[in-house]
Point group: C2
Chain length 594, copies 2
């Protein structure tokens, strides 16, 4: 254990933390800061640190766990729903830079294998969708975000599959046809076996565990680690790289294989060990292999690769995007959004360096390419989205759709009737009569204990975009929203919050990122009574300048609960529930009851 150097580990972690946090503050993904810190601390600049066996081991475990996490985050159901435009963008954004990257390296005299590694590195897309940029640019509910998400998912999977195919042939050299078939067959066998095992055996295991009431998180975690390393070993036996095994394992760990609560906690653990501990060691130490001399010795190649990466990605995406019929401008916008390179690129480049396929110079160029392309994303995407927005071509679309309403009471039904104009509305209630009434009114409607996962599962909570809890009981509303958020990842959770004494606090509301319906504490009973009695009048009011929902409520609700702001309608007549964390744009209308 002579190699074990606490100090270097400490410096790497602290550096990664400072770099990552700074990058995040500036609106960039943490990996950017980690790479830069690595370059600064490593031999390239300060020479404080260099790579060691200890760092390599931890970094290797880090990327394995990171690939598991990346796999977990890719939801098959989402992949299945991946739209035609997303597929087009992903393919165009991969193939064009891939081809250009390959020929660039060949032109500069590189080997076929080196050219293929660079081509893949240039082709991949980092999940810019996860970065704050989409939130900052208010893009989350646009078609662009939806395409970006689908595109990035496909792109990552595509890149890894091609990478796998390539790896199979790395050691081959010149062998006969039979040998080639054997090599390709092994790789295919790996994917077939892991996919079948993941699809059929894992759920059996999960069922076995849950039937035997085994709910120990650590037990599950260790078991999953064993599956992960088992898949890694299979990948290596098939002549591939362990990260592919980790990725395949991650793909199948999600989605109700194990108890949802445990799955959620285990995702968190994979997230924190990889992103909070071991993966940064990999990215910082990637910076140790970078040499700044490429700016002198290989400036032309560096510039060419960065240009190829950016132009190839943006133009490739835009051209392939044309058949979608959404226009070349949206194509370019999607291209700028997919222009970042991240974890997967650096991991592939690192493997190429380690296998001796690419030189330290090429590796350095690929790291700088990752840095420059990632830096470009917020800049370019801000331009392009503003451009679209000004032209009125920024199209609204949810990436998860459908509204799940808890509480099929008259107010809930009233709201549902409005919302079903543009989105599927589903009701859940624990009162059979109310459920029947909702069905009579043409809503999909389920009876069940809302605080049971099964009920939410039956109501397909896992694919809904919005959850609204409208019972008269604050605690039930909050508990249900917590379940919707924690176990079903529903992005928007809105709860009715009644002015009760001793009720659950606003803290819980914040923690699960829920917002309160009507943007104020509202008593349910009187409004239900009014609606039942037909004693309501629906009115709309157009808003002239930007105002928060809270302010609107303050301006209108003088004292008593005289009016109930129910929905906001934009000029395209898209309606959304009126809730606390929202603002009303000029030209939008508030629909309220009085």
């Amino acid at each position: 254990m002579e190699e074990f150097n606490i100090l270097s580990l400490l410096i790497i972690l602290a550096g990664a933390w400072v770099g990552g946090t700074t990058a995040k503050r500036l609106g960039y993904p943490p990996i950017l800061g980690e790479l830069v810190i690595g370059i600064i601390l490593g031999p390239a600049i300060l020479g404080l640190l260099e790579t060691s066996e200890m760092i390599s081991v931890l970094a290797e475990v880090g990327i394995i766990l990171l690939m598991v996490y990346i796999g977990i985050e890719i939801n098959f159901r989402d992949l299945g729903k991946a739209s035609w435009p997303g597929l087009l963008a992903a393919i165009g954004g991969f193939i064009v830079p891939f081809g250009m990257g390959y020929y660039t390296i060949k032109y500069f005299g590189g080997t076929d294998l080196a050219a293929l590694f660079v081509a893949i590195a240039v082709g991949v897309t980092s999940l810019a969708t996860k970065s704050r940029i989409l939130v900052d640019l208010k893009l989350l509910n646009t078609r662009i975000a939806y395409v970006l998400m689908a595109g990035a998912l496909i792109s990552d999977t595509l890149a890894l599959v091609i990478f796998a195919g390539m790896l199979s042939f790395v050691d081959v050299g010149s062998i006969d046809a039979l040998g080639l078939i054997w090599v390709a067959g092994k790789a295919l066998l790996f994917f077939a076996f892991t996919a079948l095992a993941g699809y059929f055996l894992l759920p059996v295991l999960g069922k076995f565990l849950s039937e035997n009431k085994i709910k120990n998180r650590t037990f599950h975690f260790t078991l999953i680690l064993i599956i992960v390393f088992g898949f890694c070993e299979l990948a290596e036996l098939a002549g591939l790289h362990s990260i592919l095994g980790a990725f395949m394992a991650g793909l199948f760990i999600r989605d109700g294989v194990f108890n949802r609560q445990i799955s959620k906690e285990i995702n968190d653990i994979f997230h924190d060990i990889s992103i909070g501990f071991l993966a940064p060691i990999f990215f910082v130490s990637a910076g140790f292999h970078v040499t700044l001399e490429v700016f002198q010795t290989d400036l032309l190649l560096l510039t060419t690769i960065v240009l190829v990466a950016m132009v190839g990605k943006i133009v490739g995406t835009a051209v392939f995007y044309l058949p979608s019929g959404f226009g070349w401008r949206e194509g370019i916008t999607v291209g700028t959004g997919m222009n970042g390179r991240g974890a997967v690129e650096i991991i592939i480049a690192g493997i190429g360096l380690e296998m001796g396929i690419i030189s330290a110079e090429i590796f350095s160029i690929l790291v700088f390419m990752a840095i420059f392309t990632t830096l470009s994303v917020p800049l370019l995407l801000t331009w392009t989205t503003n451009w679209l927005r000004k032209r009125g071509e920024l199209i609204h679309q949810e990436s998860r759709t459908g509204i799940l309403i808890l509480g099929a009471n008259p107010l809930g039904l009233y709201l549902g009737k409005h919302l079903r104009d543009q989105d599927e509305v589903t009701f859940v209630d624990s009162n059979r009569d109310l459920v029947e009434e909702a069905k009579r009114q043409g809503f999909e409607s389920f009876y069940g204990n809302i605080l049971k996962e099964e009920t939410l599962e039956t109501a397909k909570a896992y694919e809904k975009g919005t959850f609204i809890a409208l019972t008269g009981n604050n605690e039930i509303n909050l508990l249900a929203a917590q379940l919707a958020h924690d176990a079903f990842f529903i992005p928007q959770n809105i709860v009715l919050f009644a002015p009760q004494e001793g009720g659950a606090g606003v803290e819980l509301l914040d923690k699960i990122k829920a917002s309160s319906m009507f943007a104020s504490k509202t008593e349910l009973a009187p409004w239900i009574f009014k609606i039942r009695a037909g004693d309501i009048e629906e009115q709309t009011e157009k808003v002239e300048k930007l105002i928060t929902t809270r302010k609107w409520v303050k301006q209108h609700q003088l004292g008593a609960d005289k009016i109930l702001p129910l929905l906001i309608m934009d000029p395209e007549e898209n309606k959304r529930p009126f809730h606390y964390h929202d603002e009303i744009q000029p030209g939008e209308k508030v629909i309220y009851l009085r």
Copy 2:
């Protein structure tokens, strides 16, 4: 990364999992199974695996994270309350085997340092309190459990401090007085600095984070890792071992330094990474260094050390325990409970081997000693407790005391009046009038929103042994019990469960290990009304043979809610709430209302 061998990692993890799970099934701590698996897989028997740089690195990170977790689990507040008998047991149980171990090695011709290492290894105590054995033997609520817990805590801390003192002098050899003072000074400086930083700086940091609303778990986790490795580096600078830094860091991470919910989640992560992933790599690989030849070459030394460890620990504990006045029989029982050796011993032995202070033979002997002593615990402890039980000398005592009742309504107060005979009862309510009424009746009583951590913190929930939620609202009862369980680790949570429609399910009850009050669904309002009207009659019924509370209710509640079983009283007149997960022993009485 040539060293990175997925297959060996996979075998180690799978082996550790099989070994650990088997050990647990048999009622032993998992570490026992991990050591045995390591011996079987390693050079000693099968020769499938041997140690490598990769394994060493991961094992080293594993023990650092494990020491953090051990530190986190030691609660200063508990240490402060550590009883006089616990202190006696810890000191006796450490010093006597320590001295005997030292002289054994000296007698067999070992060096001073080797003798000291063995002495410490023989002296430490593993936290047998955490093992299932106390639950199996129904010891959790006895004075023995309380003494064992306090004793084990002190013992671990004592062992690590002495280990630190010893380490300081390892490299010293023969230097002058000034040098000695410098060496000792550095070690003291380390403890002083880390204690002061932990006590004063960490809370400032935690306050800063919470004031700036930084609630990102991963951010906290990375920050804590940086602190941990910082402390490790300080320990090494002070001439100590990194595990001492990790332990000191862990000691200060608990206890409201950071947001309680985040602390809880981070504890879980440390638990899972160490116990579920990296620490088993250390324990399995410890088995790789074991040689079976000691059974032939050093059988006498092996036997002597095992005997010294067992006799020294049990007799030492019993003798030093005498001044407690609890008798030599209880002392011997405590000694058999403290006889296990675990993580800390193997870690210290591993460090000794790595530093070249003890030989592979001595290391093997220490591993076997750990295995044999740990194996002895359930056997010996079963004998000794049965012995005490038969003599009627098994004294009941809670390790966490005090009852916190949510809901100062008449039924709550009625229950409180009974329970305060033997335990402190505290009330919390969100109704000021009820809080005042409870105060008038002489109870400690707090007003506040029960679902806020602050309220429970003010009511000192962190030191209570029992939490009873008695409001008429199922959801509030459940949410509060969840908070009590998750954030304040209250061991016994009992909630009133009213027969409401659509309420939170029994699942949540199970998940937070809560039990339902009165052992049945009970409507609160009618009983409150009866108590207020004075329209109740308290009766007792003696139970003749063992019966579960559920059965008792079934036998007595013919149809309507005519009687309310409130408490169970044992022959010593100790009362406990009547709840679902309990059984009534022959001779105990049920106190019920009608």
